[in-house]
């Protein structure tokens, strides 16, 4: 029987690989991702499940899923010209198909994705967590970018349905879960200031508040507060909190063992482990 062994939340800035290379191992980006990698190594998972949002690279608006699950033998990326190495990674197709079928039986309307690459939202975290790509990765796509977004409650429920599906999986399997994304980030929208950068962090307080609720394990409050309106006031990319909320649905209400804020960037790194 498969079991959930850890949860991780982290950002996926496309500039992070180059920044970490410039700054070296003592830079904050490298250190924070390394802290996550250390926890990941300690729990020795057999599979990584990652909640991710596609930035119009894998999908486009001709057919943009609200929820989608990747069911293939492998995937590769990044497919969006992010300056970083290109990777190929195995996908646990059977487990992915099982999870999708179980979630559909519970009333989740999930697109089937049998041939796909992934963008920086998957590959930036993996680049830091396991550049050898030794662990198969199961991507679950959530629309965090093109409103109307799924509600936070719906994403939490999706996570819970996936937890139940994993518990039903007959083989012994250690599953770690990642939520990928930022809490406060505006790219190209009217909140950006004059200057030389088309992005900004409109609401560092919201970023800290999200982490406070995570630390205090006040998940229901977080889900209630994380309306689309609230998230998008923190920036047009603020919906990526939904990837973290789906993660919470899978791992349940637990206190993080580590939480590393970068509120100037509207983001954080967090790890959940138990026993």
């Amino acid at each position: 029987m498969a079991e959930i062994v850890a949860g991780f939340g982290m950002p996926h800035n496309p500039g992070a690989p180059a920044l970490a290379a410039r700054e070296g191992p003592q830079g904050e980006t490298a250190r924070f991702y390394a802290e996550m990698a250390k926890h990941l190594e300690a729990v020795a998972p057999d599979v990584l499940l990652i909640f991710t949002d596609d930035h119009f690279n894998t999908f486009f608006l001709d057919n943009f899923p609200t929820f989608a699950i990747g069911i293939a033998e492998a995937t590769a990326g990044p497919n969006d010209q992010t300056p970083m190495p290109r990777y190929k990674v195995a996908v646990p197709a059977d487990l992915a198909a099982h999870i999708r079928a179980a979630a559909i039986a519970h009333g989740f309307d999930i697109s089937l994705v049998q041939d796909f690459e992934v963008d920086h939202a998957v590959m930036v975290p993996l680049h830091f967590l396991m550049p050898d790509m030794r662990i198969p990765v199961l991507p679950i796509f959530i629309n965090c970018l093109a409103p109307p977004l799924p509600s936070a409650a719906r994403c939490l429920a999706l996570g819970r349905a996936i937890r139940a599906a994993i518990a039903e999986w007959p083989q012994a399997l250690r599953v770690a879960v990642i939520g990928s994304g930022s809490f406060s980030l505006e790219i190209g929208g009217p909140k950006i200031p004059l200057g030389n950068r088309a992005a900004c962090t409109p609401d560092p307080q919201w970023s800290q508040h999200v982490q406070d609720l995570l630390t205090l394990v006040r998940i229901d409050e977080l889900v209630a507060e994380a309306t689309t309106d609230r998230m998008l006031r923190a920036g047009n990319i603020g919906g990526e909190l939904l990837n973290w909320i789906a993660l919470l649905g899978v791992i349940g209400a637990r206190k993080p063992v580590s939480i590393l804020p970068q509120n100037d960037h509207g983001q954080a790194f967090a790890a959940w482990r138990w026993n």
Partner: protein
């Protein structure tokens, strides 16, 4: 369809290098065959990102244009113009 087409042009600028180069050399000619309304065509060729934003173009996709300064959009120009867009999040 047509705001869709502006979004698609932004995305193609990222994914299709030949298209990107063509837009850089000849913006109007390169998008001549695209299904755009006259207003949309004018706004895109003028780099009027406030108008495009207000009509539903995705800012994440529009911001690509500044990477290669397409349609006259250097970053400072983009920032200056997008700030003037009506932001429905403030309503």
């Amino acid at each position: 369809m047509s705001v869709y087409t502006v979004n698609k042009i932004c995305r193609d600028a990222l994914h299709d290098l030949a298209f990107r180069e063509a837009v850089r050399r000849d913006p109007a000619g390169t998008i001549a065959g695209r299904d755009l309304s006259p207003d949309e065509r004018r706004a895109l060729l003028a780099g009027d990102v406030a108008w495009l934003y207000e009509h539903g173009c995705h800012p994440f996709l529009m911001s690509y244009l500044t990477r290669w300064e397409l349609f006259g959009l250097k970053v400072p120009t983009y920032c200056e113009r997008i700030q003037k867009a009506h932001d429905s999040r403030d309503d």
